[in-house]
């Protein structure tokens, strides 16, 4: 079955819209974990420029998917809770952005926001508030992600030697 270029483009567009509803920080974490899980181990193992022993490379490669699984699981759980909490506070009107208040008074909306809602100023205010909240969540999410690295890496450092020891049978792991 052939897919016409327009249909293919529309599918890509739908995927992009679905993906973008996740928010920047979550997208960054998915892309990071996906690359670490699937690509990094292969590149370490089959690096043509490396003369390191096969066993050493296997150890370094196994660390990548183990870390990716532990990291993404912890990040999804922690960021989910944090974003839920922020959304609840915002719904109660406890998070107010100075930029939104200023624009509410002046009526001068950013061009991109106005265009996205067909110049409807009531919708533009909602859109602006949503945009600010998403950016705010992304930045707070980055701080939380950094803070989470200490327990995440401690945990994956406990798990990965066991997995590597099981998979690398060279009787030389002393």
């Amino acid at each position: 079955m052939k897919v016409s270029p327009i249909k293919f483009n529309q599918r890509m567009a739908n995927s992009l819209e679905r993906f973008s509803s996740q928010g920047g920080e979550k997208i960054a974490n998915y892309i990071n974990a996906g690359g670490k899980f699937a690509i990094a181990p292969l590149v370490i193992l089959y690096n043509p420029f490396s003369k390191e022993s096969k066993e050493n490379k296997k150890w370094a490669a196994i660390k990548q998917p183990v870390e990716a699984i532990v990291t993404i699981a912890a990040q999804i759980a922690a960021l989910g809770l944090l974003f839920k909490g922020i959304d609840k506070l915002a719904a109660k009107g406890k998070i107010k952005f100075k930029l939104v208040e200023d624009i509410k008074k002046s009526g001068e909306f950013p061009k991109q926001i106005l265009e996205s809602v067909n110049n409807d100023k009531t919708k533009a205010l909602e859109e602006l508030n949503k945009n600010c909240l998403d950016i705010f969540k992304d930045r707070i999410g980055t701080v939380l992600t950094i803070a989470l690295y200490v327990p995440i890496l401690a945990l994956s450092n406990r798990i990965f030697p066991k997995v590597a020891d099981m998979l690398v049978k060279d009787n030389d792991n002393e």
């Binding site: 973008s20 690509i39 690096n47 506070l89 998070i95 107010k96 996205s116 690295y149």
Partner: protein
């Protein structure tokens, strides 16, 4: 919690940042790349420290795994910024947008374009650079670093670079060091009690 967040949401610095991210897609994408680099630099520093302390990794393998963490951190930071910023440029963004989404309909084209810029910069910096280019460059670099900087002491212990700075406390938080510290404290307090008793007598 809102008391902690209000100073941020009302600050001039954060609101100027919001304004720029909303108005400038390239800046939004570059910000995500910088955040990603910040996370990686921190993560690789922690990774390097935990690897060199991890006695579960065989001594024979540990210097290379640690050197790999260090080399990856250095190469990642430089390469991600170069590639991420180049991909975030409006020229490249527009060319790829037209190639991929010509004739497609969007509910909100503004958000879709911003997400596209972010995803592209992240795929460029986080997948192509960090996962393909970095291991390719970092593996041979780690080998060289391992030979040059990870020296062995006469008793066959590895001397890890920066270990003096990364080990903030000489007593690592192991059960053994905790017991030693507690018994030392107990002895000291007993001595002090004895002295105080002698003084009163």
């Amino acid at each position: 919690m809102s008391n902690i967040l209000t100073p941020i949401t009302q600050s001039k610095l954060f609101n100027n940042h919001l304004k720029r991210v909303i108005n400038d897609d390239a800046f939004a994408a570059k910000t995500i790349v910088v955040c990603s680099v910040m996370k990686d630099v921190f993560a690789y520093s922690v990774r390097y420290k935990t690897t060199m302390d991890n006695e579960k990794i065989p001594e024979k393998r540990r210097p290379f795994v640690a050197a790999m963490d260090m080399a990856s951190g250095i190469v990642t930071a430089i390469a991600q910024i170069v590639v991420g910023f180049a991909i975030a440029s409006p020229k490249i963004q527009n060319r790829l947008w037209n190639a991929l989404f010509k004739g497609a309909e969007f509910k909100n084209i503004g958000i879709a374009k911003k997400s596209f810029a972010t995803i592209l910069a992240l795929v460029g910096s986080g997948v192509i650079t960090e996962r393909i280019l970095v291991p390719l460059i970092a593996t041979p670099l780690a080998e060289k670093m391992e030979k040059k900087f990870f020296k062995k002491t006469p008793d066959e212990q590895t001397q890890y670079p920066l270990s003096n700075y990364l080990h903030l406390s000489k007593n690592r938080p192991t059960l053994k060091s905790f017991i030693n510290k507690t018994s030392a404290n107990e002895k000291q307090s007993k001595k002090q009690d004895k002295k105080a008793l002698q003084k009163t007598i």
